[in-house]
């Protein structure tokens, strides 16, 4: 599976990412991640505050990748793309370098491929980004990015005078929430999109949608594959999550078919601006 996006600083980012939340044990996570790597997935998304059976997910991910590399010499650390995020308390605390070094240690690596600000917490996200720029210059972080931002947050960031433009923006994207204005803005600014909840949690309007079912039947693919392909063809890197080995493999098989322009439009037209994650209750004053 060799499908990468080239970010605005020349770094390659895989076109599909696996999320690491919601694993209930290290064993389960190990099995899922290893099967994803076997199936060609090279990008993983985590955060300091994710937990796997009481353990820090960053630490678990570090161990799993390290072990995989030991037993599979055809891969190196450089083949992987690891995203982690700074959470609101870290922004408030302000010791960004210390926190990032801690993440690097937990992930048992020498650098982070992509460092994002999880939520644009008012008054704190701009100074935090400026501190992240220093880490980028030191080579501790290969790409910088934001998460869950609106255009007004980016404008605040750009108005502050950036030295390094963000390369990545991670936001909730699925057919029920296409966030077209934000996506257009990011395109203009040459910022690549990572899409979380790419399947819209398979809510009823997606799961029971006749149009989607028809498209899936036509291509003899699952609904999830159709939706992930829709993301891919629109230039997004979907962040899928699954605990099932079969489903993980299934999700990664999206490069052997193509949706037509009409089909892309039909799926995009399902938009209802329906956000699963209500931002302001996660990030007050958002």
């Amino acid at each position: 599976m060799e499908n990468n996006y080239i970010l605005n600083n020349g770094v390659k980012m895989p076109s599909i990412i696996m999320g690491t939340t919601s694993f209930t044990s290290f064993r389960q996570m190990n099995e899922a991640i290893c099967s994803a790597i076997d199936a060609g997935c090279r990008a993983f998304d985590t955060s300091r505050f994710y937990r796997t059976g009481g353990e820090e997910t960053e630490k678990c991910l570090g161990i799993i990748i390290k072990n995989y590399l030991k037993s599979n010499s055809y891969l190196t650390r450089e083949d992987f793309f690891i995203t982690t995020k700074l959470a609101i308390p870290q922004l408030i605390r302000g010791s960004i370098e210390k926190d990032v070094i801690e993440s690097i240690n937990k992930l048992d690596t020498e650098y982070i491929d992509s460092l994002l600000i999880h939520w644009p917490f008012p008054d704190y996200f701009v100074p935090a980004y400026q501190k992240m720029e220093e880490l980028y210059k030191k080579g501790l972080v290969k790409t910088l990015g934001m998460s869950n931002c609106q255009i007004r947050h980016f404008e605040q960031l750009f108005d502050a005078g950036l030295e390094i433009n963000p390369q990545v923006h991670q936001l909730e994207l699925h057919p029920l929430n296409t966030a077209s204005e934000t996506v257009e803005y990011c395109k203009k600014k040459n910022i690549n999109i990572q899409a979380y909840s790419p399947l819209g949690k398979m809510l009823d309007p997606i799961k029971n949608n006749e149009t989607l079912k028809e498209i899936a039947n036509k291509h003899e693919k699952s609904l999830a594959q159709i939706l992930l392909r829709w993301h891919y063809q629109l230039g997004f890197a979907p962040i899928f999550r699954s605990k099932s080995v079969d489903r993980i493999k299934n999700n990664l098989e999206l490069f052997d078919f193509r949706l037509s322009e009409d089909e892309i439009e039909l799926i995009s037209n399902l938009n209802q601006n329906y956000k699963i994650c209500t931002e302001s209750s996660r990030c007050p004053g958002y």
């Binding site: 609101i88 408030i92 329906y274 994650c277 209500t278 302001s280 209750s281 007050p284 958002y286």
Partner: protein, 353 residues
């Protein structure tokens, strides 16, 4: 834990407690070992606390099931509301959207609100409004007037918000939950106990929880009633409100509230929403009693000084259609019929803005 589960597990807990007590009496008494007595006591206390905790929590979960901060079952939760109302008691008793099928609206008004609390609610929940949605701020001379955040009233928010504003030494405002998490991170295990005690709030706040129950029960009864207040009670209530107004009148147009309203207006505009200020109606008896206070003019001046345009204000203070005493349960709170009537008119007026 849901109420059903708690009730379902009750029998088992009773059996467990009974066994403990029997052992306690029959066996350990003979041993006369003080440590065992203490151990059993702690176990029993913990078990009782756990039952009480779960019981309160399940009850509270039911009370606040609709609040977005409480959503665990995101699947059934509605988004893209047209209207959200913030404000105090008058706002709470001013609108009833249950029969309005063409608008989706959410009433976040709560008793004893300050303007700062209104803003806090908005900051936490505005994302469920659609783009260009409307925020109705119910401005009342009997509420919204205390400039300080009413921390002692915040037990309401602890239940479903758990992140009220927290001020630290350098005058920077933090959200309580985030402050808590940050501290937990800094001090590691030490603060986990504190975090747990906040999470298991009923043990920590028994009095506030009881107060909350009494308040909500009374409020729900009041909201359901279609009764009209009798003349004697209305007179007493009017006197009370006039006195209340006179007491807070001096602090009404203070600079802090004005700045707060300006900030709120900017916050709403920046998020592609629209602020509409609603001055709800009060009974004709209270209107007459307040005739000499220039209340209406003072309200107008206050709103104007905060830079709110006149076409964003819906003033029903002296609206003859809604001042009839038969529409009120007391001097300033509308009854069910009054609320329905007023809501229909309000929605019409909003559409015309």
């Amino acid at each position: 834990m849901k109420l059903k589960t708690v009730l379902g597990g009750k029998k088992l807990i009773y059996i467990f407690l009974s066994i403990l007590i029997i052992i306690f009496h029959l066996k350990f008494r003979l041993l006369a070992d003080i440590y065992i007595y203490i151990f059993c006591f702690v176990i029993i206390l913990a078990a009782i606390s756990w039952i009480v905790n779960e019981f309160w929590k399940s009850k509270l979960d039911k009370l606040f099931i609709d609040y977005p901060g409480r959503i665990n079952s995101y699947k059934n939760f509605k988004r893209n509301y047209d209207i959200a109302c913030v404000g105090g008691t008058q706002g709470l008793f001013a609108v009833d959207f249950t029969q309005q099928n063409d608008v989706s609206a959410f009433n976040w008004c709560m008793e004893n609100q300050s303007l700062e609390n209104d803003f806090l609610m908005l900051k936490n929940f505005f994302s469920i409004l659609k783009k260009d949605g409307k925020v109705l701020l119910f401005l009342s001379p009997f509420a919204n007037t205390n400039s300080e955040l009413m921390v002692n009233k915040n037990y309401k928010y602890q239940i479903f918000l758990d992140k009220f504003l927290f001020t630290v030494n350098n005058n920077k405002k933090f959200y309580f939950r985030d402050w808590l998490v940050t501290n937990t991170l800094l001090r590691k295990k030490k603060d986990n106990l504190f975090l747990m005690s906040i999470h298991y709030y009923p043990i920590l706040y028994p009095i506030t929880i009881i107060k909350l129950f009494i308040e909500i029960k009374k409020r729900n009864n009041d909201l359901r009633t279609a009764e009209t207040i009798n003349d004697k009670k209305l007179k007493i209530d009017t006197e009370k409100r006039v006195k209340e107004f006179m007491n807070i009148n001096s602090t009404f147009a203070i600079e802090k509230n004005k700045i707060l309203l300006m900030e709120m207006n900017k916050f709403i505009k920046d998020r592609d929403l629209n602020l509409i200020i609603v001055i709800p109606p009060i009974s004709s008896t209270l209107t007459n009693a307040l005739k000499n206070t220039e209340l209406n003019q003072k309200l107008k001046t206050f709103i104007h000084s905060a830079g709110i345009l006149e076409n964003s204000v819906l003033n029903y203070f002296n609206n003859k259609e809604f001042t009839n005493n038969s529409l009120f349960i007391d001097s300033y709170r509308l009854n069910l019929q009054g609320r329905k009537q007023f809501t229909t008119q309000l929605i019409k007026d909003i559409k015309n803005i």
